[in-house]
């Protein structure tokens, strides 16, 4: 399997001259789970739009599936979820929004219904399907937007900050959906705490819109000086264990930290679960 996205010298400057994306070379292989991380204003969202073919690059190219540089030709294979759900939900009911993707693909109604029911149940939207999207709360809109991109069943998911205003329960549900997604995922986020759960590779964007680091999740997320230099905070477990244990052993998630402490007899027996 070759690259699904191959960006070369990708640059995007806004009319006022701000270079939000600057000379980015980025190759995403099929089946990869990648997190693109960066501070606010580093150009993550613009990079997502440029990779998704939704803004014209000022310079450079993006090749899709080794076949074409025309994103519209492969639109049915790309699932681009925008940061703001209100930009994404534009139908008269939540059901129509979720079914918009399957309808675009010309899928039979029964298939669209099945996908809708499954996603609605998973994301707690069953009772909201016939409501207008603008009547939903912020977290509900975010969940509806996630359902809308997943109902499309794309080969590649490009999602910008998918958790938004979602509560703790549905955060876990959405992270599970992304982690279990069978295609390629690229998640753009400034929050690193959940990155180890959904990505094997981390691409770090600097404040000038260029890539400053690209490597395995552990390598990037345990590099405290790199992250802090670029306006990011390592995951909480990294902050806790940094300097206390060998960097190769730092647990990246809370469950991993509990396991680590338990294995090193640092948890009272009553706390072990």
């Amino acid at each position: 399997m070759g690259p699904v996205i191959d960006a070369r010298g990708l640059t995007h400057a806004y009319p006022d001259g701000t270079r939000a994306v600057d000379d980015v070379d980025l190759t995403i292989e099929a089946g990869e789970a990648v997190a693109v991380v960066g501070a606010n204003g580093s150009g993550k969202s613009t990079l997502q739009l440029a990779l998704g073919g939704l803004v014209e690059p000022t310079a450079g190219t993006v090749e899709y599936f080794g076949e074409t540089t025309d994103a519209e030709a492969v639109r049915d294979r790309l699932g681009v979820l925008l940061q703001e759900p209100d930009d994404y939900l534009f139908n008269t009911t939540v059901r129509e929004d979720i079914q918009y993707g399957p309808a675009q693909l010309g899928l039979p109604e029964a298939v669209a219904d099945r996908r809708t029911d499954t996603l609605a149940e998973t994301l707690g939207l069953s009772a909201l399907l016939d409501r207008p999207p603008f009547r939903l709360s912020g977290g509900e809109k975010q969940r509806a937007a996630v359902a809308s991109v997943l109902s499309f069943d794309p080969e590649v998911l490009l999602v910008d900050e998918p958790l938004g205003a979602v509560d703790a329960h549905y955060r876990a549900v959405i992270l599970d959906l992304i982690a279990d997604f069978e295609g390629t995922t690229v998640v753009f986020t400034p929050t690193l705490d959940y990155v180890p759960e959904i990505a094997d590779r981390v691409v770090c964007i600097g404040r000038e819109g260029s890539i400053v680091a690209d490597g395995p999740t552990r390598e990037i997320l345990t590099d405290r000086s790199l992250l802090e230099h670029h306006g990011l905070r390592p995951p909480r477990t990294v902050q806790l264990f940094d300097g206390l244990v060998d960097p190769a052993e730092i647990p990246l998630t809370v469950p991993a930290a509990r396991q680590f402490l338990s294995a090193h007899d640092r948890l009272p027996p009553s706390a072990e679960r």
Partner: protein, 270 residues
């Protein structure tokens, strides 16, 4: 909080409240709510056309009575219906008011050298009544049928896709823009202390209007991207979920058809 800006917040909130109340009416178990949206759409539009072609005050009055009866049976509060439907006829009456002196007829009275004629007054009354009943019928449609169902009915009836699509998007984003405007006004109010004078209020309003325009343009661009991200080449929802019409739906359609026919006969018949 005082001043025009603060008052505009209340106005926006009131508008949204009115809309949400309408959704509750649409969810009630009433005469029109039980009918298929296609039948409701066609029959109300048919009745509105029947009213519009009528030139007789008695016929228009008959349709007005029928409309109120249907509204009552559909559990629509009449004060709310009047509030929704009252403005347009009043504006219409003002527009055609000069006709009371311009239409030739028997003189009724003289005011400031102008002669009010019976034909002119008759024209004003019929015209205003027609507009009032027509608008009330369409308000009845909007109050008793969820907008999504009206859009689906339009699609199912084969109306041009572009028309239905533009209508649906406009409706959807109208409320998004209201939210945007309300957020701007609330943000302004949350950081405004003391009494706001009319002058400072209008100055702020000018600034807000400019920002609102820019945010609206930006929103439009982002929504365009959202649509492109999901294809966007086909109609919004091509799945036709309409079932078959019930006997009562046909009865409603027949009633509207007969009313249209009757109104036509009265207008153009022997």
């Amino acid at each position: 909080m005082t001043g025009p800006v603060a008052r505009s917040t209340a106005a926006i909130a009131g508008l949204l409240r009115q809309f949400f109340t309408a959704e509750r009416i649409a969810a009630a178990d009433g005469l029109l709510q039980r009918r298929d949206p296609r039948a409701v759409l066609l029959s109300t539009v048919g009745l509105a056309v029947a009213v519009m072609i009528s030139r007789s005050l008695a016929v228009v009055g008959l349709f007005g009575g029928l409309t109120l009866l249907v509204a009552w049976r559909s559990k629509v509060p009449l004060d709310r219906l009047a509030a929704r439907s009252g403005v347009v006829p009043l504006v219409s009456a003002l527009i055609v008011l000069p006709q009371v002196v311009l239409v030739p007829g028997e003189p009724l009275a003289s005011l400031w050298g102008l002669t009010v004629t019976d034909a002119g007054v008759g024209y004003l009354l019929v015209f205003t009544a027609r507009v009032a009943v027509g608008v009330t019928l369409l308000s009845l449609l909007v109050l008793t049928t969820p907008f999504a169902a009206i859009v689906a009915a339009m699609r199912s009836l084969g109306l041009p896709v572009a028309l239905v699509w533009v209508l649906a998007i406009t409706y959807r984003y109208l409320f998004l823009f209201f939210d945007e405007l309300q957020r701007l006004v609330v943000a302004r109010n949350s950081r405004t202390t003391g009494e706001s004078t009319l002058r400072s209020g209008w100055r702020d309003l000018r600034g807000i209007a400019g920002t609102f325009l820019l945010r609206t343009l930006d929103r439009g661009e982002r929504v365009g991207r959202g649509m492109r991200a999901r294809g966007g080449g086909r109609p919004p929802s091509p799945y036709d979920r309409s079932g078959s019409l019930a006997a009562a739906d046909y009865a409603l359609l027949s009633l509207a058809g007969l009313a249209l026919l009757g109104s036509g006969v009265v207008r153009w018949g022997p």
